[in-house]
Amino acid sequence: MKINSFLSCKLMVLIFILSGCSSNNIITSETKDPFEKLNRKIFNFNKKIDQKIVAPIGSAYEENIPAAARNAIGSHLDWVDTPSTIFNSTIQMDLKNTILSSAKFMLNGLTLGFYDLDKGETAIKKKDFGSTLAKFNVPEGPFLMVPILGPKMTRDFTGTIWNKYIMTNVSSDSLNNLTLLETPLETIDTRSKISKTIDNIYESPDPYVKLRSYYIQNRRNKVYGKNYVDFKNNKSDEEFEKLLE
């Protein structure tokens, strides 16, 4: 246990150093990818695992489980993930999100999250430790392709590990066991939900670059919200206006 903690601390320090490799500007060049060679190898490995194991299970899941049951499972998986949102919203001092997510977590706890009693009326922003680090101006760092886990920015990878570590310590044992059991289910559920997007990525001329672009745009939208959207739109408007002249 002590060795594990020591190793994870060392890993955090290393990842933080890597995060520091980039500028603090929220919008760095999307194509900045110092580990591209290694990332491409890991991408090919992940793709093989996905095509041979995850995708077939995902499509079988989609074909054999009725939509209502899949929705219930998806809703339950969101519920299991809510303590992380509550915790990170608190650190980020997002009072509204903390209160709303806590209330929703307690309300849906009556059905173990399998049925959304709120019927999606309360909009909650999902927050993880990566977004908390972003809130405290930790740079996003280079793009990484992590074996099995897939694409991550260095900061978000740190966040994922910390999130797991912190949530293991603050959550009850039963919830932790449940989360552990449900990780494979979450992978399959997510894969079935985004199967068309993944097929579209695999069919593109450079699937690695397409995945990287989709991931970075999506992640920045989630982490920086309106700030990033405004910045990105202004930049693209400028570029487009020049082309239209």
Binding site: T31, A67, G120, K196, S204, P205, S213, Q217, N221, S236
Partner: protein, 220 residues
């Protein structure tokens, strides 16, 4: 003395009156002219909104009418629809950056053709899903002098899937008609992601357009 004072007062009053008159004239002119550009902008926005809704209706109709056809026949049928609404010339230039000017006319034409096929394939893959969804326009705005943003969302009536936010970017093409220059799905820009891919291939192959077109066509 009194007379000269009165004359001076009258003069200054006249001056004041003239100034007030000028001011009100300017205000009146401003008030009268202000709605003109606003009206033009509003009309342009309205037209753009209609264009998107019209395109969605036509796409849905196409999806239903071509259900029995095979993929190739369906693609052939939707190609004119995409040509009508998408500014291919703009997209080709936007996705190739500075490399565009280095390509010859023939390469530029072939690239546009390959790009069109890519768009057709992507649309084709999602067409059946689109037929079951409903589109709701949200808002629209002018961005600068030439670009219009149209925001909307597509929703699943059965609520099995979460709503998807769309942002259409439109601009006037050379023949003065509005056309789509980019589409963002849940904040992911199609032009940006396609540009990343294209630029990565071009940079690694010293701007070889023939190789790029070959790569794009393999995946047709």
């Amino acid at each position: 003395m009194l007379i000269s004072k009165t004359i001076n007062l009258t003069k200054s009053l006249k001056n004041y009156w003239n100034k007030i008159k000028d001011f009100f004239l300017i205000v009146l002119l401003f008030v009268l002219l202000l709605p003109l550009p606003n009206q033009v902008f509003a009309e342009e926005l309205e037209k753009s909104n209609q264009l998107i809704e019209e395109m969605i209706i036509k796409s849905k109709k196409h999806a239903i009418e071509t259900l029995e056809l095979n993929k190739e026949e369906r693609s052939q049928k939707i190609t004119p629809l995409i040509r009508q609404y998408v500014n291919l010339d703009f997209m080709a230039r936007a996705t190739t950056g500075s490399f565009w000017s280095k390509a010859n006319d023939e390469q530029q034409l072939r690239y546009k053709d390959a790009l069109l096929h890519q768009i057709v394939n992507t649309v084709e893959e999602h067409l059946n899903t689109l037929a079951t969804l409903t589109y709701t326009p949200l808002n629209s705005e002018f961005r600068g002098k030439k670009i219009i943003y149209i925001r909307g969302k597509i929703e699943d009536k059965s609520k099995n899937n979460p709503p998807i936010n769309l942002l259409w970017k439109l601009a006037k093409s050379q023949n003065e008609t509005m056309s789509i220059i980019d589409l963002e799905i849940e904040g992911i820009s199609l032009v940006t992601s396609h540009k990343s891919e294209v630029m990565s291939i071009l940079r690694k192959n010293k701007g070889d357009f023939d190789y790029l077109i070959e790569r794009l066509n393999i995946k047709k």
